[in-house]
């Protein structure tokens, strides 16, 4: 497979330069756009494997651009935001963004996000067993092992963990998790999620207070780290 192509849509030339150098040195092919209009044209003519989209573009609101793109573009879109405004981030994620990064971000973090967004895109949905660091999930048998020894999970705990495993490395919002695990009528019952995350951490983490797998994303949701 040839290297993946990434389109950077950001009006700041410095950020574009930094991202281009970083991405090219990690063997991605890079295209650049400085406005929403230019970006949308490039997506239409040379659809990239992934888009890095700045939310604060001069010619069009980032949420609008995202909405336009999602009408026909289905590859991952990672949002770059200059503000840690949680409701803005959640809105972007609900509107189809795959993930987000708040400026300033670390290069390592950027590359990890891109890798997991692309992996999700290529993942084999039918893989019966997932190896996630010290955790092994056998989807067919609905069984979970940590360091080779079986862990007993309740039905809800298992559903939650399986959902995390299928979205490894990707941020999942509170609303999304509630909707998927408990159903639409539980969308605002976040206390259930808190309690089950705490329970699940006690069972699968080596130290539930310093979780290595289920990482809290303040005010947004959780991210599962499969290392």
């Amino acid at each position: 497979m040839s290297s993946a192509s990434v389109l950077v849509i950001d009006d700041e030339v410095q950020i574009r330069k930094l991202l281009t150098i970083t991405l090219q040195s990690n063997e991605y092919r890079v295209q650049e756009a400085s406005t929403a209009k230019e970006g949308l044209m490039l997506v239409a003519s040379h659809p990239p494997d992934l888009i890095l989209l700045d939310l604060g573009l001069p010619d069009e609101n980032g949420h609008e651009v995202l909405r336009h793109l999602r009408e026909w573009y289905s590859n991952p879109i990672i949002i770059l935001s200059v503000q840690r405004d949680e409701s803005d981030i959640v809105k972007a994620l609900d509107n189809g963004a795959s993930d987000y990064l708040v400026k300033p971000f670390r290069t390592g973090e950027l590359l990890a996000r891109i890798r997991s967004a692309l992996r999700k895109n290529n993942s084999d949905e039918n893989n019966p067993v997932a190896e996630l660091g010290d955790i092994t999930i056998d989807f067919a048998a609905r069984s979970v092992k940590k360091n080779g020894s079986a862990i007993k999970l309740t039905a809800t705990e298992y559903t939650l963990l399986a959902l995390f495993a299928k979205n490894e490395g990707k941020v999942l919002t509170h609303q999304y998790l509630l909707n998927q695990v408990w159903g639409p009528s539980y969308r605002n019952e976040s206390q259930y999620l808190r309690v089950f995350i705490a329970q699940l951490r006690k069972k699968i983490e080596t130290d539930a207070n310093r979780p290595a797998h289920i990482i809290t994303e303040s005010g947004v949701g959780y991210r599962f780290n499969g290392k």
Binding site: E86, Q191, A198, Q199, N209
Partner: protein, 360 residues
């Protein structure tokens, strides 16, 4: 009453107040007519006009002076219920009454104007002093890391053949540290302006306090390397409705403050409790504590303890207070009996004990 005096009533109300007060005093004088000499009533009215002069504008007070002179003449000076005055003494008295009332009103008004000017000048001087301190501290705190970054990059760009690999990596480390410091300062300034602008929105949702505390400690790991930490959160602690992001910032600021200002190997102790629908979190250290006379000032914007080393803007604790108050909570600081200081946060909030979910 104090507020009422400070915020001048509207023009119309001022006239109403002066006319009503003078009329009431005149009516009291009438009621006591049998017991009081009519000249005493003049003094009662004069006192009334003087009192009004202390908090009304000049025109309503002059109205009161003229009205009271007329009322005294008509209602009290014999022959009563006419404008005529029978003897010269009373005519003189009325004239003097009128002059004294006018002088009184004008002088009091002038004194109040002068006080106002002095206060305005003082406020301006204080503001200038405040902004000077602010600019000094800010330009220092922002320019130091910027100077480091510019200097280090210059060195790397122009002197690369003279630098050893060790020098280069040291310079890169300096750039990295300076950028992180700059980012912290900008974060503080942004948070402060969020608070000041009134734009701050508190988005409350159920929070797991264990997650909140340990998540913050994880973010602070590099800073806490030289310290010990101890966390005490009761088993089966309920969930609380809080803004996770804001509370994380509060704990971050308080714990990092403790870590920065205590000697190596000090312990930072975080305790959570929930007496009566309230979340109480204390953050204590066993450092040298705060000077007693500065405890009341530490939450003030841009306040920094006398003789502290650089690296802060004096915003961290006031942001912490602002975010706690945005939750309708309180924060206080006290020195511990033996050594160290303790911050106590108290937030009234809904709690949730979810039970019976174990088997779901």
């Amino acid at each position: 009453m104090k507020n009422y005096l400070l915020h001048n009533p509207s023009k119309k109300n001022q006239y109403l107040i002066s006319i009503a007060t003078v009329s009431v005093v005149a009516a009291i004088g009438l009621g006591l007519h049998g017991f009081l000499e009519y000249r005493i009533v003049a003094f009662m009215l004069l006192v009334t006009v003087s009192l009004l002069a202390m908090f009304l504008d000049i025109l309503p007070v002059l109205t009161a002076a003229i009205l009271s002179a007329l009322l005294w003449d008509v209602l009290f000076i014999p022959p009563r219920f006419t404008f005529t005055i029978s003897n010269t003494e009373d005519r003189l008295l009325l004239l003097m009454y009128f002059i004294i009332a006018l002088i009184n009103a004008t002088l009091t008004y002038k004194i109040r104007q002068m006080q106002k000017e002095i206060r305005a000048k003082e406020e301006k001087a204080n503001a200038v002093k405040f902004y000077n301190t602010l600019f000094n501290s800010l330009s220092h705190e922002l320019r130091t890391p910027i100077t480091t970054i510019i200097g280090a990059t210059d060195n790397l760009q122009t002197g690369s053949e003279r630098l050893t690999d060790q020098d280069k990596s040291a310079l890169l480390d300096e750039i990295s540290i300076a950028s992180l410091r700059l980012n912290d300062q900008v974060e503080n300034l942004l948070n402060m302006s969020r608070l000041e602008s009134g734009y701050l929105k508190v988005k409350k949702d159920w929070c797991d306090i264990n997650d909140l505390v340990y998540r913050t400690l994880q973010h602070l790991e590099p800073l806490l390397e030289k310290n010990r930490t101890a966390v005490y959160i009761p088993e089966r602690f309920p969930l609380f409705k809080l803004d996770f992001g804001l509370m994380e910032q509060v704990l971050y600021n308080l714990i990092s403050n403790a870590a920065i200002h205590t000697p190596p190997d000090s312990t930072v102790t975080i305790v959570a409790d929930c007496p009566e629908e309230k979340l109480v979190i204390t953050i204590a250290d066993n450092g040298q504590g705060f000077p007693e006379n500065e405890i009341a000032l530490v939450f003030d914007k841009f306040y920094r303890l006398q003789g502290t080393k650089t690296g802060g803007t004096g915003l961290g604790l006031s942001i912490a207070r602002g975010f706690v108050e945005a939750h309708n909570g309180t924060i206080r600081l006290e020195n511990m009996p033996v050594c160290g200081a303790m911050f106590t946060i108290e937030i009234p909030t809904e709690t949730s004990y979810l039970t019976g979910l174990k088997n779901e």
